[in-house]
Amino acid sequence: MAALIIRRIVWTIPVLLLVIFMIFIMMRQIEGNPFRRTERAVPPAVQANLERKFNLDKPWYMQYLLYVKGVFTLDLGPSLVLRDRSVTDIVKEHFPRSLKLGVLAFLWAIVFGIPAGVIAALRPNTVYDYLLMFFSSIGFALPSFFVATLLIYYFALKVNAFPTNGWPLGFWDIDSRVVLPSLALGLFPMAYFARLVRGTMLETMQQDYVRTARAKGLRWKSVVTRHVFRNSLIPVVTATAPLFGLIITGTFVIEIIFSIPGIGRYFIASVSNRDYSVVMGITVLTSVIIIIANLCVDIAYAFLDPRTRTSRT
């Protein structure tokens, strides 16, 4: 299995290079050079110096290699709009806030979504099941910006239980301001987990080994905890990787609604400001996160499912 994991880790490197390459190519295709604004005529010498500073005078493959080197040495270049700040600084400042939002949203999903799925699966076709699945369908369908504004409308404006916006800035600071944004972001993964766990548990209960366990006289409680629940968690682990992408997408919107100064809001502002290096840096960062999440899921899967250890193409 060690060989498998090492192979998987090594394989991540070309994927990373390819993704950075694609983002690099895409950034180059965007119309408009930030240093060739017509309204502010720049003398040729200054133009040349600017281009040299941002490596724009080198051929594209050198630019790419320099950028890759920058990614691996955590130096994403200077911001084009805030000249005194580097992209790495901006990421360091804004990213932990978004990370906290995402982690809390995931916590909502795990703490409430998985038990909801277990309850629904243990009492299929009862009132509990129907109620839980009804709510999970709603959580599945409502766009997160609507959930967010609904939550603000009721819990912040009508009931006055939570503040409408703001965010505790330190990574470990948690107060009442984090509740609504993380819930708004966590509702979809919560609903998703509930559905997934219910589905896989019902499926697992049909398996032969569950019947064997019951037939040999094991108590139903032990059967559920030892056999059904454990095996049902494998798809949940697999599903976390795409959920990462969805949560990243969600933070963009949630940060705008709750005025959270996170990386998503900064990204959108940078797109409007044409701050290319920031846009590129944040895109690369989110890609790296997703790729590493995928890697972790694959490794976790190898630990959870013994079959993947031996047979693998």
């Binding site: 070309p14 994927v15 990373l16 390819l18 993704v19 694609m22 983002i23 895409m26 950034m27 295709q29 965007i30 119309e31 369908s137 709603i138 599945f140 369908a141 409502l142 766009p143 910006f145 609507f146 504004t149 409308y153 404006l157 992408g245 969805l246 990243i248 997408t249 963009f252 919107v253 705008i256 609604i257 990204f267 959108i268 797109v271 846009v279 944040i282 895109t283 989110t286 890609s287 790296v288 997703i290 790729i291 995928n294």
Partner: protein
């Protein structure tokens, strides 16, 4: 021999595995397969309700403001133009003439939401179909040719999976430069075609091992013939389900983009941009925000239920349970 002789001569899709005993009554059975599916679908109350609501939404979006050659009911009866600004009628409460009231510019929301629905659903279907076409092309080539090419194509997909959806779509839009209906379709397609490719590839690989494909290969059919005449028709059921599974994702993606102000521009509307406009004053006029959001939610829910119903009706594996 278990080979089904119909497979060589018909393009009619057949999602079920070839029946074991009743090969004789071939043409009749073919028609009744879809009738079977239709009957099974009708038995699923939730799916039928979802289809009805879906139909109503589409009808509302097309006939209330009018579309192409379809005359609009509201413009005819009340002379309302969805983009007509009227500052004398700002934030009117719902009435017969304005069933959803008016927005901050005095525009009629009833027709505006319907117009926005045309854009949202239109982008949804156009992008879903584009995703399917690309996914089918990529996935079936990869799955059918197999070997080293398959490996390379799948590794490329792995890399694409590393790109986050929203930044990828935003970058695509930035590259295209302008934002309108078709560029939104292109951007959303670019950002989300990989899942379709994987689904198609998996399907093709499963089907490839079926007896009738081996038989076709054994009698000397070349790979592209097998692909077009046997494999694609047999995946049709899965593809129809996929349309309704993918539609909500695309509609939500469009809504996200428009909501954060990087999608459809005013005065044109989509449900996402209407929600974005409605959010500006939702504390005093929550209706402006809730109506487009409820339409998005209704569409997503309906598509999910329809997909579930179709899967139960068309997929032979879930039939017994």
């Amino acid at each position: 021999m278990a080979v089904n002789p119909r497979e060589a001569t018909t393009l009619e899709p057949q999602t079920a595995a070839p029946p074991l005993a009743e090969t004789a009554g071939a043409p009749i059975r073919q028609a009744s397969l879809w009738r079977d599916a239709y009957r099974r679908y009708l038995r699923n109350k939730g799916a039928v309700a979802a289809a009805v609501v879906f139909g109503i939404i589409v009808f509302y979006c097309l006939f209330i403001p009018g579309f192409w050659f379809i005359p609009g009911i509201w413009p005819r009866v009340f002379g309302i133009d969805p983009n007509q600004v009227n500052f004398a009628e700002v934030y009117l409460p719902p009435s017969l003439e304005h069933p959803f009231g008016t927005d901050q510019f005095g525009r009629d929301l009833w027709t505006r939401v319907a117009k926005g629905g045309q854009v949202s659903i239109g982008i949804g279907f156009a992008a879903t179909i584009a995703i399917l076409v690309i996914g089918i092309a990529y996935g079936s080539i990869s799955g059918f040719v197999g070997g080293r090419l398959d490996n390379a194509m799948m590794r490329f997909l792995d890399a694409l999976y590393g790109l986050p959806f929203l930044p990828f779509a935003i970058l695509s839009l930035a590259i295209i430069g302008t934002v309108n209906f078709w560029t939104m379709v292109i951007a959303l397609t670019i950002a989300s075609w990989f899942t379709a490719a994987r689904v198609v590839r998996g399907q093709v690989i499963t089907l490839k091992q079926n007896d009738y494909v081996r038989a076709a290969q054994a009698v000397g059919a070349r790979w592209h013939r097998v692909l077009v005449r046997h494999l694609l028709p047999n995946t049709l059921g899965v593809l129809i389900i996929f349309i309704f599974l993918e539609l909500p994702n695309v509609v939500l993606g469009e809504a996200f983009l428009s909501f954060i102000g990087l999608g459809i521009n005013p005065p044109d509307a989509s449900w996402g941009s209407l929600a974005s406009e409605g959010r500006e004053a939702y504390r005093t006029h929550p209706l402006d925000l809730w109506i487009p959001c409820l339409f998005i939610a209704a569409l997503v829910l309906c598509a999910n239920f329809i997909a579930d119903g179709l899967r139960d009706a068309l997929d032979p594996r879930t039939r017994e349970t």
